[in-house]
Subunit: 209 residues, 2 copies
């Protein structure tokens, strides 16, 4: 309506922050209201309950992530020297824009809230077709000798593991290595380089070219 976003959006924004910082159980409706510049009753005017509010936000974020994974898995299998840097960049860039998401997912998954596991199951089934295609493409690439003989699923896990690490472990890392995190942009660039370097020279055949 006016220059400030409407209250409903401010509540969603504030709730996303508080849930990310404190988790579902730790989040306080009062704090969400305060950060949104509203009062508790307004939250209940727009959302049925704390759980409904959480679910709305979580589902939205989770859908974004799965969309990214789908787009990642649709990359045509070509030279890993081209594909891997693209994938790492895409993923890190997304995570950088949704900083709090990995920790939020890890924290909330299997924490009593049944909505969460449902979301995972429902979306990952759609996802498994993509994964099957990827396996076949990688198998072809292995026969083709354009990548080493690696397990496709393990390789995907490796890539995800390397990418999410700094976001998942950020609170520990910033405490332990304050200098590295003083310039986040620089750190991210170095991280990207290191991941690509490790992945590539773990994939490219030994006696190529």
């Amino acid at each position: 309506m006016n220059e400030r976003e409407n209250i409903r959006d401010r509540i969603k924004q504030a709730a996303a922050e508080v849930f990310a910082e404190r988790g579902f159980d730790g989040a306080r409706m009062q704090e969400i209201a305060d950060r949104a510049g509203a009062n508790k009753a307004m939250i209940y005017y727009y959302f049925d309950s704390k759980e409904a509010l959480f679910t709305a936000i979580f589902a939205e974020n989770f859908a974004n992530l799965l969309q990214l994974f789908n787009s990642i898995l649709q990359v045509d299998a070509v030279d890993p020297k081209v594909v891997i840097p693209q994938l790492v960049h895409l993923h890190l860039d997304f995570l950088n824009r949704h900083n709090e998401l990995p920790r939020m997912i890890i924290r909330e998954i299997q924490s009593g809230n049944p909505v969460v596991e449902k979301l995972v199951r429902a979306n990952f089934s759609r996802f498994s077709g993509q994964l099957q295609a990827l396996r076949e493409e990688m198998a072809a690439a292995i026969r083709n000798n354009s990548i080493r003989d690696v397990d496709p699923l393990q390789t995907v896990w490796n890539l995800v593991a390397l990418n999410i690490f700094i976001f998942v472990a950020r609170p520990i890392l910033t405490a332990a290595f304050p200098e590295e995190f003083s310039d986040v942009g620089r750190m991210l660039a170095e991280r990207e380089k290191a991941i690509v370097d490790l992945m590539l020279y773990g994939l490219v055949p030994r006696q190529e070219a």
Copy 2:
């Protein structure tokens, strides 16, 4: 006293489980008491408060983890083909025996409880000396041409990222890939192999022997 461990230990054990499953805010003293085969009042007889109970358990687990890291960092720098498999095996084995620890740490770090960040800061400073030594050893190994020219800190992060992944993401992975997790021992062995393979052929010089 008798064959069953004493109540204090049973409480600690039960609390560790419940905190790991539900997080600090989600944990209920009643559930801890039930699992320990005691009642709430007994918990308060042995521990001052919920927070004190949590802190005791968290500090103990965290100390164990740092002790492992210290022992890992003391490995003499030799051929990566020997060292890397050792490190991965040590770390995965530890994590397997303290299954819930990574998720607990990630979940609770920076979640309002100031004790936690203090623990990190205090212990990681002791830790940084070890890390400096490692950097120097790796620099020597690089000059020596026994490993590729990689960033030592990034390499440590890579190793940790790959090792913790299945434990951190376990709830998602079991939902998404039930077959893989039906035989945990087998899955762990495959994971170990894949990590070592990736790390090694990302470290060993291209045109070696």
